[in-house]
Amino acid sequence: MPNALSHGVNDFNVHVATVNGSGSQTANTTLLRAIFQMGVPVSGKNLFPSNIAGLPTWFTIRVNEGGHLARETRNDVLVAMNPETSVPDIAAMGPGSVIVMNQGLPAPKAPEGATIHTIPFDAMAQPLVPDAKLRRLVVNMIYVGVLAQLLGIDRAEVERALEAQLGRKPKALAMNRAAVDAGFDYAAAHLPPAPFRVERRDKTAGKILIEGNQAAALGAMFGGVTFVSWYPITPSSSLAEALSGYLERYRRDPKTGQGTYAIVQAEDEISAIGMVLGASWAGARAMTTTSGPGLSLMTEFTGYAYYAEIPAVIWDIQRIGPSTGLPTRTSQADLLSVAFLSHGDTRQVMLFPSSVDDCFDYGMRAFDLAERLQTPVFVLSDLDLGMNVWMADPFPYPDKPWDRGKVLSAEDLERIGKFERYRDVDGDGIPYRTIPGTKHALAAYFTRGSGHDETARYTESSEAYPRVMDRLARKWETARTWVPKPVVDEVPGAELAVVAYGSSRWAVEEARERLLADGVKTSSLRVQAYPFTAEVEAFLARHERIYVVEQNRDGQMAALLRMEYPERGARLRSVLHYDGLPLAASTVVEKIRIGEREEVGVR
């Protein structure tokens, strides 16, 4: 389905096909940033393999003045640098497209109506860099110059973007600058301008470009994290590594060399979550970050934490599962697993960030929630949100202090004269806790996953156990009122409603615009948390035909909604996408259209 909105100026897609490990990252970032600096909204999707070097990789830059940042499947411009994929890559281009191809690559018959520019990148690089190894890296910078010239990207902005990245390595900078220039000059001399153009706007002024994992790391730092334990796994490692970098820089006293945090690379994810629980229990603000396989390994401990009521923040940067899966493919398929993580009657709190802003915000808020609720809080991001670069307004400095929940100090204990760890004093299901080291005779208690009564004493009583379970259910109801509410867009006269969450947000917003342009009005609900708040039910009650859009096979959010709201279950239809690539608006539009057609058939 051709993209109706793609019209050439500030609205097109550039698809770059290279070899993994060939240094195309810098080239693509330079392009992206140069466009951004021209005031035009832009996003990048890195479609990379699970491999260190040698396999095919793609990077898609979407230029969209309208601010649509979701993936767009139709590519207008292709840069073909990888001999292994050039044939299918080129064949997939449509009429009107522009193809920049490295000379000597295998190529199919040119697609109808497409323009192919065959460029002697290697020959051009030869005089610039004598060293063959280095040359491979610099070749990519030449296509930056070529594209910039073709697409009308300002040479000064390209320079600036390059300098920002390589400014501290003058030699590399000079070499790369020469390559960019060679590209510019070649294109100016030999190629006609493309029908796709970047024109200056002012839609990015003051904005930032950031990956979700980086935003989450910043949020955690400003949220006052003091303990992190993690185990490397794609696509969550970059969160831990960004956090480590920020903490090293901003939370370590340059004079004493001492830090106000501990970060430990554990030996595996069982250990990572174990450390987090120990640290949190002992008073730290503690978190971990992982992805599917690691999440599975945390099952027993997080069930323990639910029952022993220990705060913990767990970021799950979802990737394709199950098991080792496809670590570089995005997914939203861990909801059901997390909701009931661990045997027994366990319910876990989930947050669904949909933007880098949310990542920053939840980076802080998840701690408050976990500590107030004394339970694990899972933040379900995904590879698309976490590892791709997104445009956003600068993050606001937190305007509230932290909230560490119901912790009793020695003074409190002295005043109250009584402490029962698991008593529901306030009727909200949430008891009070003390921290080891609290100097008071009443402070100590015994933490265990096994049966306990209100005073934290061991019991197998058939009365005490259901009391504990009922209080935990009460706490769950409290959580329902504390978690972020959904974002509702109620459109008068809308026949359809769309429910989405997480990174699907962007494709859905764009799809709704397209549907509206076709005369189909839709209301929408963006779920931000589980348990669902009252607003979710109210929305479902108001709408008859509801499409739940998600990036998994099993319709996991729809399943949770059906479980929770049996009266509304029959109103839900699933729009599912699970090929591992980020969701595009066209997929949403298409599947809703199919659904509507079937609907008509049914009626």
Binding site: A164, F222, G259, G274, W281, G283, A284, T434, G437, F446
Partner: protein
Amino acid sequence: MSDGANVPKSNGGGPAGSGSAAGAPAVPKNRIGLTAADYKGSKSTLCPGCGHDAITGSIVQAAFELGLEPHRVAKMSGIGCSSKTPAYFIGRSHAFNAVHGRMPSVATGAFLANRELTVLGVSGDGDTASIGLGQFCHLVRRNVPVAYIIENNGVYGLTKGQFSATADVGSRAKSGAVNELMPIDLCAIAIQLGCGFVARSFSGDPKQLRPILKAALSHRGTAVVDVISPCVTFNAHEGSTRSYTAVKEHDAPLHDVTYVPHFENIEVDYAPGESREVKLHDGSRVVLKKLGEDYDPYDPGRALATLNRGREEGKFVTGLLYVNANEAALDKDLALVDAPLASLTLEQVRPPRAVLDEVMAALRSGRA
């Protein structure tokens, strides 16, 4: 106080000394004014005669004599009869009975959150050598300051007597099965991993166990104390190598152990060449009196050889096997602030607005 005597003595000079006035005998108090009873916990629910209860008794006494502040002690354990025991000692301390085999990670987190805590870990041979072996090794490798006590009976007590990974070759289970696999020697593994304090003792020998526990609690780093602790219910029949009598018979102590705390000025008088002295981080000392061969606890190769020979000879070599107080503990490696992380205020952990501005500017310009 020294460990020569079995009866705890107070720090001296306090209101209630061992030499208090005749008449109503005053209850002895330690240097922080607590009695031994203050270090007890709730009533044990283990089998009468279980070795673990004897260890509990030694822990109570050691903690009392050291004058540990209960609120600064964190009792960590896994799952098993052994791991239940933290409920039975130092009732005024916080405790964390974790999931099976994963106490080391929890202890690591707890210590890093509050480096002022004395972390006392209690585990079993199943909990440590079977399911928990990986975490145990990594705790040792990180040198997390934990006094890690293994209550080693060669079986899974709580699940009714299956072999654990420390069961001796040829040992017969109550069910009749014979163990064919070589036992894992946790002390040897710890030494090989560079652990700075490794000891083995016997629940039935409080005179040796108590000073070792005190020394372990004074060592700033992982201190592994493997205590052979008979399971009277599932490993005390014929064919058991770990019954009280079997262990008593094959116990081969390397030396007599005496602990001298830093807060007492006691001379232990042995003829030169008869004893060795080991200095601990807090200034306390361990005096090892020769029994038979001279044993150098600073030599890891010697320690390994001694253990392996002992195993071949069917002996339980006990005593302070290896010590090395020179390795930095994990909190030093991580360069933590002095104050416990748990005590930091929001101002100390939320960077100022200027930092956010700086980061935002970089993200705007793309400059790292």
